[in-house]
């Protein structure tokens, strides 16, 4: 039990490390040296020094709430809570950041929020269907139970692929990074934050990494080795794809993910019932 609480406390740090590692791996794929693994933490340190000003209190509060909620989501996953509930709590966290984006009079912020909202249309159904499939296999939404059972990647292979599709969208990786699209809408929602307040958003992003990889590990059940291999493979794959594809616009993103993700998930669920 103690280990779990430590893990929860350290979750942002782990996320930061994954994020740092990712920048290194991506750079190596492009034959660059890249920043050190700890670069995200140096960034954080540098941000502390910056002058922090706010547009209005609600805007900043929503970002902090977003950060806390994502952390709560991660904590619930670690503690083995109810999968479906976790997904809805995660929805709440996304809603917070969307509201934050809409609460300021800034074009980029609004465009970013809008895209975030559309992205939700794409991944939310897949997450819920994923929970449903686990329920059909385990008879419960209990994450602790799923984790205690044998690896379920084979009966859930199609849903696994659907989930893979949503990872770039959730982690804002090419080709599905239209929500953030740095060169185009300057980070979307992030644009109006500065200094210490931006750090919350930054850390929330790391926590999203932890959340997504924790969901990924569920496919491996109690098989730690398999989980390890899955995480590494997916990590490499996502970054490879990120390096080698160009951005798809948001409408097409939604269409692609809904079309393929939903059909894969449905086929998988029908498979569970009939096979």
């Amino acid at each position: 039990m103690m280990a779990e609480y430590i893990l929860i406390a350290l979750a942002p740090v782990i996320g930061g490390l994954i994020y740092g590692l990712e920048r290194v791996v991506r750079a190596r794929m492009q034959n660059r040296q890249g920043p050190p693994v700890l670069q995200p933490f140096y960034d954080m340190y540098k941000l502390l020094d910056k002058h922090s000003s706010i547009v209005h209190p609600m805007h900043v509060s929503l970002a902090i709430l977003h950060f806390i909620t994502v952390w709560a989501v991660v904590a619930l996953v670690i503690l083995g809570g109810n999968f479906l509930y976790v997904i809805f709590l995660h929805l709440l966290s996304t809603i917070f950041i969307i509201l934050a984006g809409f609460s300021v009079r800034s074009v980029y912020s609004h465009v970013g929020s809008n895209r975030e909202l559309l992205a939700m249309l794409a991944y939310e159904p897949i997450f819920i269907l994923m929970a449903t499939a686990y329920y059909l296999l385990n008879g419960s939404y209990d994450i602790a139970l799923i984790r205690a059972n044998d690896a379920q990647i084979l009966p859930l292979i199609l849903i696994f692929f659907a989930f893979l599709l949503t990872i770039p969208l959730k982690l804002k990786k090419s080709p599905f990074d239209a929500c953030e699209a740095h060169q185009e809408i300057v980070g979307g929602v992030e644009i109006e934050y500065s200094g210490i307040y931006f750090e919350f958003l930054y850390m929330a992003k790391w926590l999203e990494y932890v959340f997504i990889y924790m969901l990924l590990l569920l496919f491996a059940g109690n098989n730690i080795l398999l989980g390890f291999v899955l995480a590494i493979l997916v990590f490499l794959l996502v970054n490879l794809v990120d390096n080698s594809t160009s951005r798809v616009n948001i409408i097409d993103t939604v269409k692609i993910i809904m079309l393929f993700g939903l059909s894969l998930s449905i086929l998988n669920i029908l498979g569970i019932i009939y096979v």
Partner: protein, 562 residues
């Protein structure tokens, strides 16, 4: 002075009514009562007068559909009275379902009436007309209370027609051309429901020899479900399901409390009520047919709502959508789904009423009707904005009742998939429709939320009755969370703390003296006008959806005979 007495009397009346329904809910006893022969005669006479009134209205306004449907009903009703033996049985039977409905009708309806007391004073009508408005609203509550506890389908028909009458009078209340047109449309559409009930009665008497719900549910078998199917069709009419949605959308012309009461506490709630009452008699085939149809309407209405600009119309379409979801769940042969349906029914009523009350305040105090006109509301009307956000959030997000219901529903539908794989389509429509609704709600909040930098919100001044009614609903939302009792306490507390407590803490402790800047916006200058996005369905698609729904309703009838 007179006004004060009226307000005091009405307020205390609805408060007593609310508490009494709470009391009834808590003692959970079954109440039954049988009307005497004379009472039956009186009801039949009143019913005939009512139908003749509808006929007269049809002739007066030269509305063919109204008088054709009214005369059809008179003939059918006459035939039933003539041929049917005078049956004796339990006429009033209030069971658990009725008690839940009492809660919804009296507490939510009561709050709306308190609100209406103030609202109607700001309109330009004669004193008599203003008072009659309140009277019709109270009559409406009375009719609804009786309707949900009746066991006799004949009396049910009478009350059903009375709700049609109430809505007809309320919709045409303003008396202008549009109001009269829309009220006549509401009248003929609701009479379709009346005809459906009469057909149900005819079949019920001729095949099962009973006019009582309880008897019918006992003797009806899976082979011949026609009476049940016709009652379900009547439910679709009242619930403004496709293709009957236009009467409810037309009802927007009436003063806002009318929309509030139609959408939350009364009228449309008859639809899920009928389904909940009849669902024990459904065959598995009929269950899945209803669930699929309702799922289809759920998704269709949520998408349709995405391109509407009129605030009340958006709320209206989302009512149609959620009602369909409730019906889809209510029709399923599973206890959990039924429970989820009841929870959603209650909380949808509270949230919708809260939203409509705010829509009324926006109209009256800020002259805002269209979403695209709303701007910087956060600076002008923080309290109204807060309630609107809570209203929308309570329809989707944890820890509110509607969320709990969806949560339970997903589980219930998933278990049904194992029995009948067709339920996967119900699950899909549940998920996709819900996501569309989230997008819809937050699209509106987009428009409401944005604040100017450097401006502190003003304190909003509202009339006491406005505040009281909104607060009653707001508090019931919270008490409800704990009554449903399906999540563990941690799962309730996390979002509760996040949504309500922390924002205030932040506001007062963290940012009181934080340095402020104007939006950076990449250094771009110039006017920034906030827009909202739209996803319009083409008229063709909407027309196709209507044909599909008509076809699906015909399928219901076929399923009833199979």
């Amino acid at each position: 002075m007179e006004l004060k007495i009226r307000n005091f009397l009405v307020t205390s009346f609805v408060v007593v009514l609310g508490f009494y329904s709470l009391y009834l809910f808590s003692i959970s006893s079954i109440f039954s009562y049988t009307f005497s022969y004379e009472m039956h005669i009186v009801i039949s006479v009143l019913d005939t007068i009512l139908l003749v009134y509808f006929l007269a209205q049809g002739i007066k306004y030269k509305d063919k559909l109204v008088y054709i449907l009214a005369s059809t009903q008179i003939i059918l009703y006459g035939a039933i009275l003539y041929f049917a033996p005078n049956m004796q049985g339990v006429d009033i039977l209030s069971d658990e379902l009725s008690r839940v409905m009492f809660l919804v009708i009296n507490i939510v309806g009561g709050a709306i009436i308190i609100y209406a007391l103030e609202y109607i004073e700001s309109e330009d009508f004669s004193r008599l007309k203003k008072n009659s408005f309140i009277v019709i609203l109270i009559l409406f509550l009375g009719v609804m209370n009786t309707l949900v506890s009746t066991n006799n389908i004949e009396i049910f028909f009478f009350l059903f027609e009375l709700t049609t009458l109430c809505s007809y009078l309320l919709i045409r209340y303003r008396g202008d051309r549009v109001a009269v047109e829309n009220s006549l449309r509401a009248l003929w559409m609701n009479q379709v429901g009346g005809v459906a009930i009469l057909f149900a009665l005819v079949f019920s008497i001729s095949f099962y020899n009973t006019v009582y719900f309880s008897e019918l549910l006992k003797v009806v078998d899976g082979v011949f479900l026609i009476p049940v199917v016709f009652l379900v069709i009547a439910a679709y009419v009242k619930g403004a399901s496709f293709p009957f949605q236009s009467w409810l959308l037309g009802a927007m012309v009436a003063p806002t409390p009318v929309s509030a009461i139609l959408h939350s506490a009364t009228m449309v709630k008859i639809a899920p009520f009928i389904i909940l009452k009849l669902s024990p008699a459904f065959s598995p085939l009929l269950s899945i047919t209803i669930s699929l149809f309702a799922g289809f309407v759920f998704v269709g209405a949520s998408i349709m709502a995405l391109n509407r600009d009129f605030f009340k119309e958006v709320l209206g379409l989302s009512t149609i959508a959620i009602l369909s979801l409730i019906m889809a769940l209510a029709a399923m042969p599973s206890e959990e789904a039924r429970y989820a349906a009841i929870v959603l029914l209650v909380f949808h009523a509270i949230s919708k009423a809260l939203l409509f009350l705010q829509a009324g305040i926006l109209e009256k105090n800020y002259h805002l009707k269209y979403i695209s006109d709303i701007d910087t509301l956060a600076d002008k009307a923080p309290r109204t904005l807060f309630f609107i956000i809570i209203g929308f959030a309570s329809l989707t997000l944890p820890p509110f009742g509607a969320f709990i219901s969806k949560f339970l529903a997903i589980e219930a539908v998933t278990s049904q998939i194992l029995i009948n794989p067709l339920y996967i389509f119900v699950l899909l429509s549940l998920i996709i429709g819900s996501v569309f609704l989230v997008i819809l709600y937050f699209k509106i909040i987009t428009k409401l939320l944005n604040k100017e930098a450097f401006k502190n919100s003003l304190k909003e001044k509202l009339d006491f009755k406005y505040r009281l009614s909104s607060n009653i609903l707001f508090v019931s939302l919270f008490i409800g969370i704990f009554l449903v009792n399906s999540l563990n306490i941690l799962e309730i507390l996390i979002p509760l703390i996040l949504i309500f407590i922390s924002p205030f803490l932040f506001k007062y402790f963290l940012f009181k003296n934080a340095p402020r800047v104007k939006e950076y916006n990449c250094g771009e200058k110039g006017e920034f006008e906030v827009g909202v996005y739209n996803y319009a369905l083409s008229d063709d698609t909407i027309e196709k959806m209507m044909y599909i729904s008509i076809a699906l309703i015909i399928v219901h009838v076929v399923v009833g005979v199979l």
